[in-house]
């Protein structure tokens, strides 16, 4: 098994005729993802790469092709609108790759997504991949290997680095999820960890966090009480300069400065093996498995 996506995932690509959308749609098709439709308003009726019919709206795409997942590559100014449209069309899994979406747009999109019973991954994320089964987003397929490690991360290229370490040392992955680095994201560390805990194929998990916010501390708390499988953690930003503070309100709301040291300590307290550098992931996994 795997989490969130597998061979039954039927994907519609929003923004399929754009520069990024068309490039990554081709990559996903060649990886084996079932790309069943594309959407670009005004381009309805075209056929993308001989496999995916293009529609003017997501609702039409769902009606005609029974798409059950959507991936969004549209520009930031209209990305929140694309999320609304996918949720409205009854898509169960919406993955938003676009970066630079205003956070106030997301304050409006999130309640809508939740009320429509959809799961959003991202925005500002590399998407996810269940190696050998399906890839939705931009994670390079060639660095992944099918296996039993669940990877969840707030970053993009840092995730690739750690997946690369895993794959080259023989540790394949059940699913790798990039949840995104924005202040408001659809799927949290906790939701991913909980899915990995429930997935019989996943034997261990790797959590990759970074400075800022308190998501990693909450994840640590969840792991302590709700995860029995081994977890290896990494926090980027140990040498990042303090500052770029958000007035007084940032400190008041979180009650935390969000430093790497604070997060690493919280992970260690919860029984997570904490890496000092990306190359530590393999030796730590060996210890725990």
């Amino acid at each position: 098994m795997s989490v969130f996506i597998d061979q039954s995932t039927r994907l519609v690509v929003q923004g399929i005729t754009g520069r990024d959308g068309s490039f990554h749609a081709k990559q996903m098709i060649s990886y084996g993802t079932k790309v069943v439709a594309g959407v670009t308003p005004g381009k309805g009726g075209q056929l993308f790469e001989g496999v995916a019919p293009v529609f003017n709206t997501v609702a039409q795409a769902v009606r005609e092709t029974q798409a059950n997942a959507a991936v969004i590559y549209v520009p930031a100014a209209v990305a929140a609108s694309a999320i609304f449209e996918a949720a409205d069309a009854g898509i169960a899994l919406v993955v938003c790759i676009t970066e630079g979406i205003p956070v106030l747009d997301m304050t409006r999109a999130m309640p809508y997504v939740t009320e429509h019973g959809a799961r959003l991954i991202g925005p500002n994320c590399p998407g996810l991949i269940s190696p050998g089964k399906s890839k939705v987003g931009i994670i390079p397929g060639n660095i992944c290997k099918p296996g039993t490690i669940g990877v969840v991360s707030r970053s993009g290229t840092l995730t690739y680095e750690i997946i690369h370490q895993l794959s080259t040392h023989g540790y394949g992955q059940s699913t790798c999820v990039g949840i995104g680095g924005d202040p408001i994201i659809g799927t949290s560390f906790i939701q991913c960890l909980s899915a990995f805990q429930a997935d019989p194929e996943t034997e261990a998990m790797v959590l990759i966090g970074e400075i800022g916010g308190t998501d990693e501390q909450q994840a640590a708390d969840f792991i302590q009480h709700g995860v029995t499988k081994p977890v290896i953690g990494f926090i980027a930003g140990q040498t990042a300069p303090p500052g770029r503070r958000m007035g007084h309100a940032g400190a008041i709301i979180s009650g935390s400065s969000g430093t790497a040291a604070e997060k690493m300590a919280a992970l260690a307290r919860a029984g997570i093996s904490v890496m000092k550098r990306p190359a530590d992931v393999v030796p730590l996994l060996k210890e725990r498995l």
């Binding site: 205003p102 956070v103 304050t107 409006r108 309640p111 290229t157 007035g247 007084h248 309100a249 979180s254």
Partner: protein, 379 residues
């Protein structure tokens, strides 16, 4: 993007929030003229993006217009936390009966804008939050309805017993919330919200940070950017589409992706070095971005070795390699460079680099170790 206090005050004023008079001056003479107009008794405040302005001597009270001019002369041009003061706000000294706090921030946890108020406003608000959290009242706002009148009034009563003042505060909260969405702010604070001896409720000081992702939609706000308040290299980087933060170490880092950039800096430290900067060239792989990145790194005299760490996904390694070769054609590098590339088009990249006489590595730890050693050798 942070706005200056005088800019934030103007936004509040435009949204109907009572703000005491006052204006901004760039010269001592302007400050004097303003002080004369305001009756002589004024406060002169440095306009810089740094906290602790008062402690640094950037806020001074004047009894006369001549004194205001002298204070402006002392404050203009002074440096507060590395930032030069180019403007001062001149405002009448207010007689204050009470100081409260009102702030709005988008909260990651509830995924909503949260309105926070406290009757214990002023400079120690964070200490209040840490030591007496019961003095902070919070409201997670449903963005579909905004701050409802009864919610605002309840928070108004948390600040003032008097119903007139509570209503005035509630009105200010709703207007502040409106301003947040109108200008695309990620943070808006009034600290302190004061009452004067005659009972008027006013915003004495304000802070607004605008979400950079909103600036395309709000050109009038984008025009408020004060590049003189930022480090020149950071301005140059932003204009080239890069994110750059200068630090004090000797290893200049150039990486794709913020997470990997931070992990690379951490690894520099792990192997006994100090990073000279954070630099993220972002996801697209335009060779010109690489040229701009190298130009910025090489202007930092503290850099003794340069380290590239590229994990190609959307970014193509050959584009980065071409950028490095192109940059060294435009300006010679005076310090050693270590290049690690792996991922998309890695083979082509290694070919380009070796042809141009550069060594290319594929292992992150090895590249960082060598960069640290070179930086130390040069020092």
């Amino acid at each position: 993007m942070n706005l200056h206090e005088y800019q934030a005050r103007e936004i509040l004023r435009l949204h109907g929030i009572p703000v005491p008079p006052g204006d901004v001056a760039s010269t001592p003479a302007e400050a004097r003229a303003l002080a004369e107009r305001l009756g002589g008794k004024v406060v002169v405040k440095a306009q810089v993006h740094a906290g602790g302005r008062g402690k640094a001597g950037g806020v001074k009270l004047a009894g006369t217009a001549a004194e205001a001019e002298a204070h402006a002369r002392a404050i203009l041009g002074m440096t507060i936390k590395g930032l030069t003061v180019h403007k001062v706000l001149v405002a009448p000294t207010a007689e204050i009966a009470s100081e409260s706090y009102v702030g709005i921030i988008v909260d990651r946890a509830s995924q909503r804008p949260v309105l926070m108020v406290s009757p214990a406003g002023g400079i120690d608000i964070e200490e209040v939050a840490a030591k007496s959290p019961e003095k902070i009242h919070r409201l997670a706002v449903d963005p579909r309805f905004g701050v409802l009148p009864h919610q605002a009034l309840a928070l108004g009563f948390a600040l003032y017993k008097d119903v007139v003042q509570a209503r005035a505060a509630a009105d200010i909260m709703q207007k502040l919330y409106g301003a947040v969405y109108a200008v695309g702010a990620s943070l808006a604070e009034i600290n302190p919200l004061v009452t004067t001896p005659d009972g008027t409720v006013q915003a004495l000081d304000a802070k607004i940070a605008v979400d950079d992702n909103e600036l395309d939609r709000h050109p009038e706000i984008a025009a408020l950017r004060d590049t003189s308040a930022e480090a020149p290299a950071e301005v140059q980087a932003r204009e080239a589409g890069l994110t750059y933060i200068k630090l004090d170490g000797a290893v200049g880092c150039c990486v794709n992706g913020a997470g990997l950039a931070m992990a690379t800096m951490d690894l520099v430290k792990y192997y006994g070095g100090e990073p000279a900067n954070f630099l993220d060239i972002g996801g697209s792989s335009n060779p010109q971005k690489v040229v701009a990145a190298l130009r910025i790194i090489t202007t930092d005299p503290g850099v003794k070795a340069i380290l590239f760490n590229i994990f190609g996904g959307i970014t193509r390694c050959d584009d980065v390699a071409n950028g490095i070769v192109e940059a060294t054609r435009q300006f010679p590098l005076k310090v050693p460079i270590m290049i690690r590339l792996t991922g998309t088009n890695e083979r082509e990249a290694v070919q380009i680099l070796t042809t141009a006489g550069f060594a290319a590595l594929t292992d992150m730890d090895e590249a960082v170790k060598q960069a640290v050693a070179k930086a130390k050798g040069a020092a």
